[in-house]
């Protein structure tokens, strides 16, 4: 290629169309446009066509993956302002129990229970965690880790809201199609909104708190109030995932506070690539179907699952999304000099 007498040189496609700032593009051709849009819309398209192809069983897995995706997004949002949570199960469980209780005891329809559980759950979770907001790093993580355990024990021991049996016969979400597309839509709306928030100045401040909270304090910004706001948003989203799941199962029990719901979003985000939100969704889209596919191994399922997870994290420590993005940005084209 160098034989061309130097009249051509290689150029990275993204360097060619990026104009000085990250968010401004100079698009010169249809190919530039497709370079930008394809990675954004192709996965969306696949996600929305997939339910039409797969069977009943994998359709359910898809809903499951979407709910975990939402939970993982909530985790990633908290992490992006420096709050490392080990207790997504707290959000999930509180959302599920609130929606279940509203539905079972008050006979509210699902279009009332889900929003009420999301907002009410967010308020409750924020009130619970706001006092420990000043704790950093591992201390915050520890508190979030024990809170869901506390709740599940409390419910079992005091036998309230169904005790250890939980409450059953909740209103189902709707038809199979409605369930799948509602979950997918919620996931992508959530993804889009989170990415949007982080691209705004508001998100800039949140990520600055993660990087150096003292510098943010010296800029006259109340970092604790900002963190509480972020916690409210993230826990609301987590509670929404729980509410969705309890209507999907038509059941809610102490298992809603299970450790799975805390660890799975974390594993999914680590696998997919933290800090980008897309990574969280991608990770869930890999992990949840994987754990279903491994059911054939019976008792060894979890062992295999762990091995695969470990292998992935060792091979791709930065996460699937960051790896793919890096490779994609490296696409080069020949340009005339």
């Amino acid at each position: 290629m160098a034989d061309n007498g130097g009249s051509y040189r290689k150029e990275r496609v993204d360097r060619g169309i990026k104009a000085r700032s990250d968010s401004v593009y100079a698009i010169a051709s249809f190919r530039d446009l497709s370079y930008l849009l394809l990675p954004r819309f192709l996965p969306l398209l696949v996600a929305f066509i997939l339910p039409l192809i797969v069977g009943d069983y994998w359709g359910k897995v898809l809903v499951y993956a979407a709910v975990f995706g939402i939970l993982a997004l909530s985790w990633d949002f908290l992490a992006s302002c420096g709050l490392f949570s080990l207790g997504q199960a707290l959000f999930f469980g509180i959302g599920a129990y609130l929606a279940g209780a509203f539905n079972y005891y008050l006979h509210w329809p699902i279009y009332a229970t889900i929003p009420a559980a999301s907002v009410g759950g967010a308020l409750l979770c924020t009130a619970l965690l706001a006092p420990v907001m000043r704790l950093r790093g591992v201390y915050f993580a520890m508190i979030t880790l024990v809170l869901p355990m506390l709740f599940s024990r409390l419910i079992v021991a005091t036998k309230v809201i169904g005790g250890s049996h939980g409450i059953t016969n909740l209103t189902p979400l709707g038809s199979r199609w409605f369930t799948i597309y509602f979950a997918l839509l919620a996931l992508f709306v959530c993804l889009f909104v989170f990415r949007r928030i982080m691209a705004q100045d508001y998100g800039l401040v949140l990520s600055a708190i993660r990087d150096d909270d003292r510098a943010v304090m010296s800029a006259a910004i109340n970092i604790f109030w900002r963190k509480v706001q972020a916690l409210f948003i993230a826990s609301g989203v987590g509670c929404f995932a729980g509410a969705l799941m309890c209507h999907n199962y038509q059941f809610v029990g102490p298992s809603a506070f299970a450790l799975d719901y805390s660890l799975m979003p974390l594993a999914a985000t680590a696998l997919g690539g933290p800090g980008s939100f897309v990574g969280a969704v991608l990770g869930s889209a890999v992990l949840v179907p994987l754990s279903e596919a491994l059911r054939a191994f019976g008792g060894l399922r979890i062992a295999f699952y762990c091995l695969i997870l470990m292998a992935c994290i060792i091979v791709l420590p930065e996460g699937i999304f960051h790896y793919m993005a890096r490779k994609y940005h490296r696409f080069e084209r020949m340009v005339k000099v």
Partner: protein, 524 residues
């Protein structure tokens, strides 16, 4: 008349684990006044700034700002009331573009209440503000990631970030440290202008000549206590200040401290039996993406020499040190992984007759080549002794004990503070510790990247003396520095680096006599 007083500090006291960082300091600041705060490293200047801005709570005493007691308030509350600060070690968001760093204060309720500013609008406000501080609007500079900007720009970015709050009181913590003479010259009028516009300023500084151009009143701290206060002239005449701060010979920064040095270095020259090459660098060229950091640099260091590399900010000193120490290979790997800047390195590095161009930094340390990076961090939660042990971890414990004993001979002060946590050390103590840590790795060639940055005049000469001491113990040194004054007396040979090119090299005398060196690095 009380309206005139903007800040009143009363009997402020703070101690850290038995060390009195601030003891019963009181002073008043009038509105629009420019107050200088000087004192040796570790005298509690930064602590005082941290106390006023709420980053540290005092043990006793009161701070009254505009008639309100702000003692013990949160830093963001205090900042919101109009007290802005810069940091000694700039705290910026290095992966964000420079102008994005300014957006954070623009998002604060204080600024919002005054001028609003919607999304997008703030970008313009930030770029406009940066333009005033020398980040030209139409250049690429405001849009570059802060981490890739040279040190002088970072300092001004920190200042711009503080000013974005439109404060009434500004605290500057060693703003000029690490700035080149031309950068300081560009920043001084800005400060003068701000002061004339009615901003009250407290400035912690070691560069007295520059400070005295703007400060009308000076407070001198030593061991946390106020030892003098008054106009610059009065303070400089004071006995206590001279002995605590400027060194007993009271060499005011204007006079170069050459005395006593030729004898020792002459001795060293005599002692050197034969000139064996320690390091040979040939045709070193380093690109960061398309920017040339080093351009065809060739130089040699002989055994047991002290070689100085003079150069202003962004002249390529740090790139040279990173390339010689192999750190750049690590940086290159990391940048490649995240698809960032493409770093290309060409040329040869030969150490003790062996080619080491492709070796990583760890292997180079193993062969006896150690680097103290500019502003190298210490382990904050480990004490001085532990820090030294960590540095010597690959040697046998007996050897480490010997090395540490040797290091304590060179820096007796370190022995005295050996149980103190790294995070509680003052800037000067950290610098000594970092050099000591490099020495514990038992190097044959020690690279020091701006070891005198941010040190008081007294400490500067102490560290320079220590360099001579180290050299006498058989270690070869290569030292970079922006200012020739403290360094020139101790080096055998020197080079001048400008824009990545070695423009001249020669013996100490040759450099001292060169008119251009005198003009740009001695400030003569």
């Amino acid at each position: 008349m009380d309206e005139e007083i903007i800040l009143k500090v009363e009997d402020l006291r703070k101690h850290f684990g038995g060390v009195m960082a601030t003891s019963d300091v009181s002073f008043r600041l009038r509105r629009g006044e420019f107050l200088g705060l000087i004192g040796p490293n570790g005298s509690g200047k930064t602590t005082l700034v941290n106390l006023i801005t709420g980053f540290i709570r005092p043990d006793a005493g009161r701070i009254i700002y505009k008639g309100k007691d702000i003692t013990g308030k949160m830093p963001y509350t205090i900042a919101g009331m109009g007290i802005a600060r810069t940091f000694q070690m700039v705290r910026l968001f290095y992966n964000l573009a420079a102008y994005k760093n300014i957006i954070i204060p623009l998002c604060s309720p204080r600024v919002q209440a005054r001028r609003g500013g919607k999304y997008g609008e703030r970008d313009d406000m930030a770029v406009e503000l940066l333009d005033e501080f020398g980040f030209e609007r139409n250049s690429y500079v405001p849009y570059k990631a802060a981490g890739s900007l040279p040190h002088g720009y970072l300092k001004r970015l920190d200042l711009a970030r503080a000013m974005a709050l439109r404060p009434d009181l500004l605290l500057l913590d060693e703003l000029f440290s690490g700035m080149s003479m031309s950068e300081v010259a560009a920043t001084l009028p800005l400060l003068e202008k701000l002061s004339e516009e009615g901003l009250s300023i407290i400035m912690v500084e070691h560069r007295l000549k520059e400070l005295f151009r703007v400060a009308r009143r000076v407070i001198v701290l030593n061991f946390g206590q106020k030892i003098a206060e008054g106009s610059p002239e009065e303070v400089m005449k004071s006995e206590a200040v001279a002995s605590a701060y400027l060194g007993s010979e009271s060499d005011v920064p204007e006079s170069p401290s050459v005395e006593g040095t030729p004898a020792v270095s002459g001795e060293a020259e005599k002692e050197r039996p034969e000139k064996r090459p320690m390091l040979e660098v040939s045709n070193l060229t380093v690109y960061f993406e398309n920017a040339l950091a080093l351009n065809d640099v060739s130089l040699g260091v002989e055994e047991n020499e002290i070689v100085g590399i003079l150069g202003s900010n962004s002249s390529g000193k740090t790139s040279l040190m990173n390339t010689v120490s192999g750190l750049i290979l690590d940086m290159k790997k990391k940048e490649d992984r995240r698809g960032g800047e493409r770093i290309s390195v060409y040329g040869e590095v030969v150490f003790k007759g062996k080619r080491i161009t492709g070796l990583g930094p760890v292997e180079r340390v193993r062969r006896g080549l150690a680097l103290c990076r500019e502003r190298h961090p210490v382990f904050r939660d480990s004490d001085v002794m532990e820090n030294l042990r960590i540095a010597g971890n690959r040697h046998k414990s007996g050897e480490v004990k010997d090395s540490i004993a040797l290091v304590f001979e060179i820096f007796p002060h370190l022995k005295y503070i050996r149980k103190r946590k790294g995070g509680l050390l003052s800037g000067g103590e950290q610098q000594m510790l970092v050099i000591a840590m490099a020495l514990v790795t038992r190097p044959e060639l020690l690279l020091l990247d701006e070891p005198l940055l941010g040190l008081s005049p007294l400490l500067q000469s102490n560290v320079a003396e220590a360099m001579k001491d180290i050299s006498l113990r058989g270690v070869t040194l290569m030292v970079t520095e922006q200012f020739a004054r403290p360094l020139l007396p101790v080096i055998n040979r020197g080079y001048v680096l400008e824009n990545g090119i070695l423009v001249m090299g020669g013996s100490r005398q040759e450099l001292e006599e060169n008119p251009e060196v005198r003009a740009s690095y001695l400030g003569a």
